[in-house]
Amino acid sequence: MAMELEYDRSLYGVEHKAGPFEITDAIIDRANSSVGETGPAFHSDEEAKKAGYRGRIAPPTLCCILVRQVSLPDVKVQFGRTQMHAGQRVEPKAPVYAGDQLTASSHLKDVYAKTGRSGTMVFVVWETTFSNQDGQVVAEVQESFAKRE
């Protein structure tokens, strides 16, 4: 039997905007150095141009990091005590260039319960669309948080 979940359903259909986030060289440098990213197109205009880009690009998961700066409302799920970051998805749609100004628009996608060997968990899924200064969508990001009994 499906569990009747209590949470703030009025959040559905509401877009939460954030930004602009300026994609500076310093941010890309830090994203590269912290994980040992050596991809040439992520390091310089010159190398990126050789790969067919108009300038230096950000690594494809940068929007997954920026999404942490979007403040999202409490979904008020009446379940569990501890919350963890359960998963993340990114679908890059267009290159993110150094110097871009990105804006984010997030909405609640789903809240659902799942019962497995370790008991029942409730998942809260947010979906965020990142667009650049020209209005072009550059990435879709999904974040999933799990609450456990």
């Binding site: 994203a31 040992g36 991809g39 040439p40 197109a41 494809p60 990091i65 993340q88 890059p92």
Partner: protein, 139 residues
């Protein structure tokens, strides 16, 4: 970078070995001004959250997984990377990243490769797993 006709179902991407040091994690957390102290860099906060030590942020493990795929397929190759953070990832330990090709198809004129991707530990821990879709060039 391989062409689409050079790969087969079951081919493996990687494995590569990575380590996230304390310093790497501190550096990574500065990208988005993570509120401090936090469970990624402070052992006491991590202990309060029930962790055995400070952990590597899920999004940092995601950046490593993406790197495995872009090193193989090129900087713009990733179409979709969908990961589940299965268990806390410790600092300063050997992490093995690898992907296995599960499907090769053409969709809207693009040559797509689907794979299962996994980050494991030295004791068989399955830290992060998921699926990825990568676009490759044809000749």
């Amino acid at each position: 970078m391989p062409y689409i006709d050079e790969i087969e179902l079951g081919d493996e991407i990687g494995p590569v070995e990575k380590i996230a040091s304390d310093e790497d994690v501190l550096n990574f957390c500065e990208i988005w001004d993570a509120p401090k102290p936090n469970r990624f860099t402070d052992p006491e906060i991590a202990a309060k959250a029930g962790m055995q030590g400070t952990i590597v942020p899920g999004i940092m493990t995601m950046a490593m997984m993406a790197q495995l795929l872009t090193d193989w397929g090129g900087p713009g190759a990733i179409k979709d990377l969908d990961l589940v953070f299965r268990q806390p990832v410790p600092h300063n330990r050997a992490l093995t990243l690898a992907a296995t090709i599960t499907d090769i198809r053409e969709e809207d004129g693009e040559h797509l490769v689907e794979c299962d991707i996994l980050m494991t530990g030295t004791e068989g821990e399955r830290y992060v797993g998921g699926k990825a879709i990568v676009a490759l060039e044809s000749r």
